[in-house]
């Protein structure tokens, strides 16, 4: 087969072998962020603002510095003032400069010989605060006269006269809304709100920094992207990237929340100042208070539909707040809101608003779940009002190949119709429901990304293969990358081992985000394998004394291509590798690319719930996920993404939220009151994988990680609304909120 032909028949891709890191993870040997130590290591701890908004008039660290065992104290004064807004915001979030912008914002840090001394030292730091008025609610922050979180951050696209907290505006869509709505038999307009939720990874952020006196540094940390950490930290330390090596540990969950830095620059600064390695491990309380939750939102949706179910127009006004710093999440929400539909008239208007809350970090399909929740709720209500089957209506309006998407481009091969048809055929959709029960469904969408990727593939002389790639494995990617290398090389999976490189060992790799790794690293791995294959074919050609072009690679061996090439028995990878020294030296392949063509992903979720009419408690009875994976490389881990994403969405829909007091302080900074779903809350999560190949990948792979968190919000809201007969328009649908709606219904 020519090396650039798309492959659709597989030998090992699509099987379910054990993951290479499995043994270490079931025996406790795997090393995560907090498991690293270094001789002479100090413990770093961070002092955080107890105020939602306060000017820092002065910080007196002298008493802390004088405490025995304290080796370094730093504040923002120890970090450079950076020009670039993007990086300066990240640095200011790591260490407040001038103003504390939210409850939990770091203001100083110490490094001491042990944790108890470090804790004691924090108490000795005197911060003189001037408390300022605060605002934590997105709608309140948008009002004229609201306390201004940061001045001068408004972009040119925001009309004059708005609150300074409004930092950006965006608008997407096409067609003529008034004439679209004029064609509708029914128009529903509703407002929705969603609370900020946290990624909720079980591993708190942890890092170990070691700066030497000649200006070199090493940093070990749990991150979704060691190269990006290097970029950020090198600039914040005023050092060259080459002098900082960042090594990613095993990572205990990220979901987008570990795509940036929080404690890493602080540990580096403390290490530089103390001359000793410094380890910082966040407490859970710090994770909730000072690392990224997602945006909170307030949204107005208006959709028109004909009586036979065709959507004639859709309009959305989205207001997002990602805390005290500007962000562009609103743009993704604005583009994703109506992506599942083929619409003649569609428009979304987005606003980003500053509030005194922690800086948003990416969370699985950032910006999409809330916007699609609101749109899918109104579509469901229209179906109810018009007496239409909600799946048939989705199918009637579904985006497909050739549809001009709501965000502009025309879709290529996409799997939405296939997932909707699979849902229609599934017995779940027609199973009977009991009293107080309801069934909901929702479509979901995510763009998926590719990005900068490097892979180095080395053929060892014993016939095994090592793949070195630069993306931390957050969901089983080492297994899927090994599978793709084995597939391409035609050798068993067990002969391949995949390693995650430190920043000194490969070129730049984008972070593990955007559902990019199986797609982009897989693509680079396949290309690297093909380079190695070309090399191996050349070696065989030399040995046989024939032209390179006369050799082809079949099932893990070089073979003469056709009868005219000569009669030689196939020469396996192991045989070629064994004589590599004699035939020209080590054999390797590598590939570096900024990958494009990730291929968008669609899913449909179906859920049954039962609501206790006396308490407002919702029980999820049955849940089925349908999703297009392009090609499921390791189906177990594709299912795992679908199940895990669905359950995070269930938590978001029902119980998870950042709760602020009137004082602007976060009231539930712990797993006790920030309620992620526990095992007993859930039914089995059934999965149906569809495989509509992505034309942009040699094996047809699409990213699968983010789409599954998008549909659950609306699917559950639609199920609950149908169960109780009241349209629920605010998340989470916690029992007090739901009971209140039930009682107001009478």
């Amino acid at each position: 087969m020519p090396l650039d032909t798309p492959k659709r028949k597989f030998k090992v891709v699509g099987t379910r072998p054990p993951r290479p890191d499995g043994l270490d993870k079931v025996t406790g040997r795997a090393l995560y962020g907090a498991d690293m130590t270094a001789p002479g290591m100090l413990t770093g701890r961070i002092l955080r603002s107890p105020h939602a908004h306060a000017r820092i008039k002065s910080i007196d660290t002298s008493a802390a510095e004088a405490l025995a065992g304290v080796r370094a104290v730093i504040t923002a004064a120890d970090l450079p003032v950076l020009e670039d807004d993007f990086i300066r915001d990240i640095q200011d979030n790591c260490m407040a400069r001038g103003k504390a912008l939210y409850d939990g914002h770091a203001v100083a840090a110490v490094a001491a010989t042990d944790a108890a001394t470090a804790r004691k030292a924090l108490k000795l730091i005197k911060v003189d605060y001037e408390i300022l008025p605060h605002v934590t609610d997105v709608d309140a922050a948008m009002k004229p006269g609201a306390p201004v979180v940061q001045k001068g951050r408004t972009l040119e696209n925001v009309p004059a006269g708005m609150s300074e907290n409004v930092t950006s505006h965006c608008e997407f869509g096409h067609g003529d809304l008034p004439s679209g709505f004029a064609k509708a038999d029914k128009i529903i307009e509703r407002s929705f709100r969603t609370a900020a939720t946290h990624q909720g990874y079980i591993e708190p952020h942890a890092c170990l920094a070691s700066f030497t006196s000649d200006g070199k540094a090493d940093l070990w940390c749990c991150t979704q992207g060691q190269f990006f950490v290097r970029t950020l930290c090198a600039q914040m330390m005023g050092m060259e990237a080459s002098q900082l090596r960042v090594t990613s540990s095993e990572i205990g969950g990220g979901f987008g929340g570990k795509t940036t830095v929080f404690i890493e620059p602080v540990a580096l600064a403390l290490s530089r100042k103390s001359g000793r390695p410094v380890k910082i491990v966040m407490t859970r309380d710090e994770v909730f208070k000072a690392t990224g939750p997602t945006v909170s939102s307030s949204m107005d949706i208006r959709i028109g539909m004909t009586r036979n179910g065709r959507i004639t127009a859709g309009e959305a006004h989205l207001r997002y707040s990602g805390g005290a710093f500007p962000n562009a999440t609103i743009e993704m929400g604005g583009q994703a809101a109506f992506a599942a539909y083929d619409l003649g008239a569609v428009r979304t208007f987005g606003w980003n608003i500053l509030t005194n809350r922690p800086k948003e970090a990416a969370y699985r399909a950032p910006g999409a779940p809330m916007a699609i929740y609101a749109v899918e709720s109104v579509v469901d209500e229209l179906c109810q009002e018009l007496g239409l089957d909600p799946l048939k209506v989705r199918l009637l309006n579904a985006a497909r190949k050739g549809t001009k998407s709501s965000y502009g481009p025309t879709f290529d091969d996409i799997g939405l119709v296939a997932t909707l048809e699979a849902a229609t055929r599934h017995p779940h959709y027609t199973a009977p429901l009991g009293p107080n029960q309801g069934r909901g469904l929702s479509c979901g969408f995510w763009f998926n990304f590719g990005g900068n990727t490097c892979v180095s593939l080395n053929v060892n002389t014993d016939g095994t293969v090592g793949v070195t790639e630069g993306n931390p494995d957050i969901g089983g990617s080492r297994a899927s990358i090994s599978l793709m290398a084995a597939e391409e090389l035609g050798i068993p999976y067990e002969k391949v081992r995949t390693f995650v490189a430190d920043t000194a060992s490969l070129g730049y790799n984008d972070v593990t985000d955007g559902s990019r790794v199986t797609f982009a690293v897989g693509l680079a791995t396949i290309k690297a394998a093909r380079a190695a294959i070309r090399n191996m074919c050349a070696r065989a050609a030399k040995i046989w004394g024939i032209d390179e072009e006369a050799v082809e690679w079949i099932d893990g061996a070089a073979c003469p291509a056709g009868p005219n090439a000569g009669k030689f028995p196939p020469m396996t990878l192991a045989e070629i590798a064994a004589v590599s020294a004699e035939t020209g030296g080590p054999i390797a392949g590598h590939h570096e690319v900024n990958a494009d063509g990730a291929g968008v992903s669609f899913g449909v979720h179906l859920v049954d719930v039962e609501v206790d009419p006396e308490t407002g408690a919702t029980k999820v009875l049955r849940y089925t996920v349908f999703q297009d994976a392009g090609k499921a490389v390791h189906p177990d881990y594709v299912e795992g993404q679908m199940q895990g994403g669905a359950v995070q969405g269930i938590g978001w829909a029902l119980n998870e939220e950042y709760i602020y007091g009137d004082d602007g302080r976060l009231q539930n900074a712990g797993f006790l009151d920030y309620r992620v779903p526990v095992a007993s809350d859930l039914p089995p999560i059934e999965t149906v994988i569809l495989e509509i190949p992505n034309p942009g990948h040699p094996y047809g792979v699409r990213g699968v990680g983010e789409t599954p968190i998008v549909p659950p919000l609306a699917a559950i809201a639609n199920a609950v609304s149908r169960a109780v007969g009241v349209r629920m328009t605010e998340l989470p649908m916690s029992p007090p909120r739901l009971l209140k709606a039930l009682l107001s219904k009478g």
Binding site: G252, A679, S680
Partner: protein, 158 residues
């Protein structure tokens, strides 16, 4: 703070350590004994990542003082396999893809082992309630429940 000398048994072997009175058993395991398989996800008993058994009883080691280990028998994830041979739960977790990031896995395995020791044939619901104190954010729990069930079935048939 005056340190305390503690004599105990960890994974069947005698162990001694010195700790301060306010150090937790989890601190001691990780920082004094080098047993970093038990993880700190919250430090408040809400996530279960630090699960160990003390005298056969499943506990969160973050809610036990190191000093309380005096004379006790403690088992951790590091004591679960017998030499090279994995415990059936460990094997089934790998085979059933019951882990993604793996940070909750040690705690869940220790907890599941404690369950099967007292209930060799638990229902789905019994497994889900028993493991309610072990948060997992990656898997949605589905494959974990299946792995516990298949390990239990194998253990019953042996």
């Amino acid at each position: 703070m005056k340190s305390i000398h503690v004599t105990t048994t960890v994974n069947g072997e005698p162990a001694e350590f010195i700790c301060t009175p306010d150090e937790t058993l989890l601190d001691v395991l990780r920082n004094r004994l080098g047993l970093t398989g038990s993880k700190e996800g919250c430090g408040t008993g809400d996530c279960g990542a630090c699960s160990v058994t003390v005298n056969g009883r499943l506990v969160c080691s973050c809610l036990v003082l190191g000093a309380e280990a005096e004379g006790a028998e403690i088992t951790t994830i590091e004591g679960m396999a017998s030499g090279e041979a994995l415990h059936p739960l460990q094997r089934h977790f790998i085979e059933s893809a019951a882990l993604q990031c793996g940070i909750c896995t040690p705690g869940i395995l220790v907890a599941a082992k404690a369950l099967l020791e007292q209930n060799p044939d638990p229902s789905d619901s019994e497994i889900r309630y028993w493991l309610a104190g072990n948060l997992c954010r990656c898997t949605g729990y589905d494959k974990i429940i299946n792995a516990v069930k298949s390990a239990a079935a194998e253990m019953r048939s042996n």
